[in-house]
Amino acid sequence: MVVQAAPGGGSDILARTVGDILNKERIVEQPIAVVNRPGGSGAIAYAYLNEKKGDPHFIATVTASYLTTAIQGQSPVSYRDFSNHAVLAVDDFIAVVRANAPYSTLQELVDAAKAAPNSIRVGTTQVGSSDSIIELRLEQAAGIELNAVTFNSAGEVNAALLGSSVDLAFANPGEVRELIRARRLKQLAVFAPQRLAGFEDLPTARDAGYDVNVEQFRGVVGPAGLTPDQQLYWQNALYRMTETAGWKDYIEKNTLRPLVLVGQDAEQYIARESAQLTEALKGLGVAQ
C-alpha cells in the first residue's frame, strides 16, 4: 500500500488504518505493508504506482491531491491512468473565525467584507487546495473580495487565526472541533450539501444563500491494467472494510462524512470531482 505522504500525517494514518482493518478482520489475508513515497504533492507516489501496471498487489490511498497535482501540471499521470477502486469518505470544510470576531453568521461576514473590500484576511493552505477553492467560490457567489494569506499547513492556519494574523479560515471539522468547544473559535457555516452529524446547529452556506459546496474525498486506487476479477476483489474488500466497527470508529474520531462508492460509482464521482476542480483551478489561474 503506497502513501503519498510522510509517516504520521493524516494521509498516513488513513492508510495505516485501512491496512490494519483489512488484515485484522481477515478481509485480506496477505499482510499489507505501507510504503511512504512523499514528495511533489503526491506526484512521486503516483509515478511509482504507475510503474506497477497490471500488478494487483499494489493499492494507494488518495485524497484531493490525486486530482489537483495532475490538473496543475505537476504530475504526468492523472486519475485516468489508474483503477479507481473506491471512495471511502469525504471531509467537509467549515468557516471559522475567532470567538470575539464581530460577525456570528456567514451573512454578517459577507456584509463586513462588502463594506470594506479586502479588509478580512483569510488563511488558506497552498493555492489549489480545497480551502483556497472555497475562498474563490465564496468570493464569486457573494461578490466580495477577501485578502488571502497562504500557509504551509492547516495547523499553521489555525495558529495564525488564533493569533490574529488572519481573521477567517476554512477548516476540516476534526481540526477545529475542540477549539470551537473551548470557545476560542466560532463556526459560521459548513460548505456541504446538508448539515453535518454532530454539527446540527451549524447552517450550510446554501442556507445563507451562497451555493458553495466543496468537499475533499478519501479513496483507494490501484494501478491500471487489472483484470475485472482483480478489480472486483479490491472493490469487495474495501466495501467490507467500510462496514467494520473499526472504520466507523475512525470516521467518527476524525469527523469525516461516510460516502462509500465502489467501481463505476467511484469512477464517476472522481471524474466529476476532477471536472469541478479543473474549473476551480482555472479560476485560480493555476490549471495547466
Binding site: A6, V35, S41, Q74, G155, A159, E178, R184
Partner: protein
C-alpha cells in the same frame, strides 16, 4: 494549590512501574533513532505508533515523547564522532563537536552534550509545567512578520558562522539561499527550477545535503590525506568535562535553554532552528568568537541545550491548543487522536492524567537519559580507536542508509553524494559549508514569511516596522551587521566610505 495537586497527580501516573518502563523504552529507542542519520524523531515516532495501540493513552504518549527528547540526546553522538548529524537539530553540533573529537576530547563533548541536554530538558519541562498556557498565547501571537524578522536575525548570524573569511561565508550563504528557491513556489504553487523532475518539487531536502556536505565530504577529505590514515590519533583523554569546560559552558547552557524553549514553542520553528540560533547567539556574545568551529565546548553545549529545550517547548502549543508546531508534534497529535483523546484547549482539563503524567514522566526520562548517556560517552568515544580504513565503509553505509530511509528515495542518495563531492571541493578551498546549510533551511521559511507578510499588508512594507516585535528583531539584525563595520572604520582612524578594501582585507 491546584498546581501541587496536579504535580502529585502527574508523578502518581509517571512513577507506576509500567510508565517508568515505557519512559525508559522511549528514551532508549529515541537515543538510537537520534544517533542514526536519516531516521529523525518524526519518522521514529511514526514508525513506533502502531506499537502503542492498545496501550493506555498516558503510557503511549509518555513513550512517544521519550522518543522525541531521547532523539535530541542521541543526535549528538554521530555529529561528534563522525561529523554526520544524526538528526537535523544536531547539525550545529558537528562544527565544534567533531573538532573536539579530532583533538581527542570526544568524551568531553559527548559528556557536556548529555549534561547540557539534561539541564535544558529539565528546565524545559519546568517551564512547560509552570507557564504553558500563557506561553502558548505569546507563541501564537507571532505572525508572519515576526517570523520573517526572526529568520533575518538568524541569517545575520551567518557571518558569525564563517571561518577565516567573511566574504567566503557570505558567498556560501547566498548559494544556500539560491538552492533554497528550488521547488514549488510556496504562495503561487508554480514549479521553480525543478526541470520537470518531481523529486525536486519539494526543494532540496535538507538532510541529504547536510550528510553530503559534512559527513561524506569529511570522509573524502581524510581519504585524500595519505599520511593521515587514522585521522583521530590523539589520545582520548578527559572522558568527562573538566572544571574549565564547566566554566566555559555554563552560560551557553543557560542561554541555549531559554532561547531553545521559546523558539521550540513557536509553531513552525522547532529544534533545528533553535540550535542554529543558539550557536549564532553564543558566537556573537562570546569573548573568543574566532575560536568557534575549532572545537570549543560551548559550541557543543549551546546547540545541544537548545534542541532539548525546544523539544519541551514544542509540546506547549500541542498540549495547550492542539496545534502542532513541528513534524514530530504533528505525528504526536495524530497519535493522541488515535487514542481517542481530543487534543485542544480542553485536554488539560478533561485528561489531566495524560498531560501531567507526561510532564512528570519527562523529569524521569531526562534523568534516565543522563544516566544512560554519561557512562556511554567514553564507550562511544572509543569507537574512534577503530582504524579509519575500517571505519570509512561503516560511516558511508550508515550515512547512505540513513539518507535513503527518509523518503525511500534513490534521488536523495544522488543528492548526498553530489553534495559530498561539492563539500570536499569547498573544504579544499576553504569555503565553509555551514552557512550554505543554514541558508538552505532558513531561506524558504524566510521567503514564505516575507511574502505572507506582504499578503497581509497588501503589498505595504510598513508592516515590518509598525509591529513592535518585528521592528525589534530587525533592529537587532541591523546592529549585528552594522556594528562590526563601525568598529572597523573607527579602528582605521579615518573612515573611508568605500567598503571594497574592507572586503579585500578579510578575504585574504
Amino acid at each position: 494549590m491546584d498546581l501541587i495537586n496536579n504535580i502529585v497527580l502527574g508523578f502518581s501516573v509517571a512513577l507506576t512501574p509500567q510508565n517508568i518502563f515505557f519512559a525508559f523504552v522511549g528514551a532508549l529507542i529515541g537515543t538510537i533513532i537520534g544517533a542514526l542519520p536519516g531516521i529523525g524523531p518524526s519518522a521514529g515516532v511514526a514508525l513506533l505508533l502502531p506499537v502503542t495501540f492498545g496501550m493506555h493513552p498516558a503510557s503511549a504518549i509518555i513513550m512517544l515523547a521519550g522518543i522525541y527528547y531521547g532523539a535530541m540526546y542521541g543526535g549528538t553522538i554521530t555529529s561528534v564522532l563522525i561529523n554526520t548529524p544524526g538528526e537535523s537539530a544536531s547539525v550545529m553540533t558537528t562544527l565544534d563537536g567533531y573538532q573536539m573529537a579530532a583533538k581527542g576530547r570526544a568524551g568531553a563533548a559527548l559528556g557536556m552534550a548529555a549534561i547540557g541536554s539534561f539541564i535544558a530538558g529539565t528546565a524545559g519541562v519546568l517551564a512547560l509545567m509552570l507557564a504553558a498556557p500563557p506561553l502558548a498565547e505569546v507563541a501564537i501571537s507571532f505572525g508572519p512578520p515576526e517570523y520573517f524578522a526572526l529568520m533575518v536575525l538568524g541569517l545575520t548570524t551567518l557571518t558569525g558562522l564563517t571561518g577565516a573569511s567573511k566574504l567566503k561565508g557570505l558567498l556560501m550563504g547566498i548559494v544556500g539561499l539560491i538552492l533554497g528557491t528550488i521547488g514549488i513556489d510556496p504562495i503561487l504553487g508554480n514549479a521553480r527550477f525543478t526541470f520537470g523532475n518531481p523529486n525536486l518539487a519539494d526543494g532540496l531536502d535538507f538532510l541529504p545535503v547536510a550528510v553530503g556536505l559534512f559527513g561524506i565530504a569529511e570522509i573524502l577529505g581524510n581519504v585524500d590525506l595519505p599520511t593521515r590514515a587514522e585521522p583521530i590519533k590523539a589520545k582520548i583523554t578527559g572522558l568527562l568535562p573538566t572544571r574549565q569546560d564547566w566554566a566555559d559552558s555554563w552560560g551557553a547552557i543557560g542561554r541555549g535553554t531559554t532561547l531553545g524553549f521559546f523558539v521550540g514553542a513557536l509553531p513552525g520553528a522547532g529544534a533545528t532552528i533553535a540550535s542554529f540560533l543558539a550557536y549564532g547567539l553564543e558566537k556573537r556574545i562570546s569573548k573568543r568568537p574566532e575560536r568557534f568551529g575549532t572545537g570549543i565546548i560551548e559550541g557543543v553545549a549551546a546547540p545541544e541545550s537548545a534542541n532539548n529545550a525546544a523539544a519541551a517547548g514544542a509540546l506547549v502549543p500541542l498540549m495547550v491548543l492542539g496545534i502542532p508546531g513541528s513534524a514530530t508534534t504533528a505525528v504526536m497529535l495524530g497519535a493522541l487522536t488515535l487514542y481517542g483523546l481530543q487534543p485542544g484547549p480542553l485536554l488539560m482539563d478533561l485528561n489531566p492524567d495524560v498531560f501531567w503524567g507526561l510532564v512528570a514522566s519527562m523529569y524521569v526520562g531526562n534523568v534516565m537519559l543522563l544516566i544512560l548517556n554519561l557512562p556511554l560517552a567514553p564507550a562511544f568515544a572509543s569507537i574512534l580507536r577503530v582504524p579509519y580504513s575500517a571505519l570509512v565503509p561503516i560511516i558511508m553505509g550508515i550515512a547512505l542508509v540513513g539518507v535513503y530511509s527518509v523518503q525511500n528515495s534513490t534521488f536523495d542518495l544522488g543528492v548526498a553524494l553530489a553534495f559530498g563531492i561539492i563539500g570536499y571541493a569547498l573544504k579544499r578551498y576553504g569555503y565553509p559549508s555551514a552557512p550554505l546549510v543554514l541558508a538552505l533551511v532558513l531561506g524558504p521559511l524566510m521567503e514564505r514569511a516575507f511574502r505572507q507578510s506582504l499578503q497581509m499588508s497588501q503589498g505595504g512594507f510598513g508592516i515590518f516596522v509598525t509591529r513592535p516585535v518585528t521592528a525589534f528583531f530587525l533592529l537587532v539584525a541591523l546592529i549585528v551587521v552594522v556594528a562590526p563595520l563601525v568598529a572597523w572604520f573607527r579602528s582605521r582612524g579615518r573612515p573611508i566610505p568605500v567598503p571594497v578594501p574592507e572586503e579585500r582585507q578579510v578575504a585574504c
